[in-house]
Symmetry: C2
Subunit: 252 residues, 2 copies
């Protein structure tokens, strides 16, 4: 019998390497959100080319390599899928039901990525059979996804694996966090030059509710202007046939 108590640390570490346990797979699954030109929230889905759930739409993801952290794996997957770096990433939740993947035991760490509007070019991704941004429509206790260009409507039940649960949890997180954090800023086209109304539309897209313009501006000024975190620019928008709006810039 092996006596662990009397081993030195070196002996113990060497011993560990000789033992093999049954281990689950660990993956990262990515909720890649962005705003489209109509100021709607969109989610990137890929169409599965292989089994299981072949032909179904799913959120992109992949295995965590042995030499990368979870955060690094998420960043790598995002890069592979969208060719983007330096994007806001946030760990969401870890999904580990035994039967969530029929092939083998797969534990998936879900991440949220918030891509600034206009930066998403997922055609750059290499391994996706087919990929498409879907507009997220939030409704009473659920959501629907649809793509205008493909004339496609997906109910939440049609997603592969337990991805319905992941999307649901992600939307819940965004909804809750938008009020007390700065995540809405991450979805702006340009943090150095945006209008208050642009930010408002992001808040509205995330919460699924409409806000009063006056009240939104008031809270914006209290939160960002009074604290010196945002400054007003000289430049104004050059829209035709209406009053131009002021641009603001996030400092730091």
């Amino acid at each position: 019998m092996i006596n662990y108590e009397e081993m030195t640390e070196e002996e113990y570490l060497a011993h560990c390497k000789t033992i093999e346990f049954a281990r689950p797979c660990v993956t990262v699954d990515m909720l890649i959100f962005s705003m489209n030109k109509e100021q709607q929230l969109e989610l990137l889905l890929i169409k599965r080319g292989g089994h299981p759930h072949k032909g179904k739409w799913a959120i992109p993801g992949g295995f965590v390599e042995m030499d990368e952290s979870l955060e690094e794996a998420a960043a790598r997957e995002l890069k592979e899928e969208t060719n983007l770096d330096g994007i806001y990433l946030e760990q969401l939740y870890t999904f580990g039901e035994v039967e969530r993947d029929k092939r083998t035991r797969v534990i998936s760490v879900a991440y949220i990525a918030l891509v600034p509007a206009g930066n998403l070019d997922f055609a750059a991704g290499d391994d996706a059979v087919d990929a498409c941004n879907f507009v997220v429509k939030q409704e009473h206790g659920g959501f629907t996804l649809y793509s205008q260009e493909r004339n496609l409507i997906l109910t939440q039940e049609e997603l592969a694996f337990d991805h319905k649960d992941i999307v649901e949890k992600g939307l819940e997180r965004l909804k809750g966090k938008v009020v007390y954090s700065d995540i809405a800023l991450e979805l702006l086209r340009d943090k150095e030059k945006f209008t208050i109304y642009e930010l408002q539309t992001i808040h509205e897209a995330l919460t699924g509710e409409a806000f009063d313009v006056a009240n939104f501006r008031r809270s914006f000024k209290k939160k960002f202007m009074d604290t010196g975190r945002v400054e007003k620019l000289e430049e104004k928008s050059v829209d035709f046939s209406r009053k131009p709006s002021s641009y603001y810039r996030l400092i730091k």
Copy 2:
């Protein structure tokens, strides 16, 4: 070359079983919180009997088995450690830095358990070399742990592995969630018979701040009485030399 595209699902699943990938270990680590008799927040730690970090204090945890979900693994670990069932459990965060465990790649899903006051008897646990409840003292951007009975003070840096980060994240979660959720109720000795002030002390222990009694009672009544979720009992406390306090009962 194998053509995944033309396989049936059955063929593919069979094929999968023949492949072996390098896989990380997955564990659950448990933050087991409770309130002591002095109405202080406590955290259960075990003293490591084996390498690595032999002799250091750590939060309890263990491997996720192939046939149990993460939630089930957390419940099992809690049971092994404290012999308790039916305790409030909440997934906290997943820690996956490459070098967090020197032995091999270990990805740890951290859970929070909130044990009702007076129920904790960790001597019942079997696999712990040594276990002890430590009072959690929260301070400006950190915490300290101490055990009166053992005359032991632990700084956050003295914990094994990255458990300092886990505890930190757990305290943050409790602090944030206590204001808008009902988690404080989980730490009550008895949800069917408690005083408002007992609940207040839990809020104070979790946030590390003192509250005005009048204001706390007001918000308690608004949150629980006005909504019919808590009712006042006839029975009153039997303290001597002072006005007895009313008991309340959580409904459902």
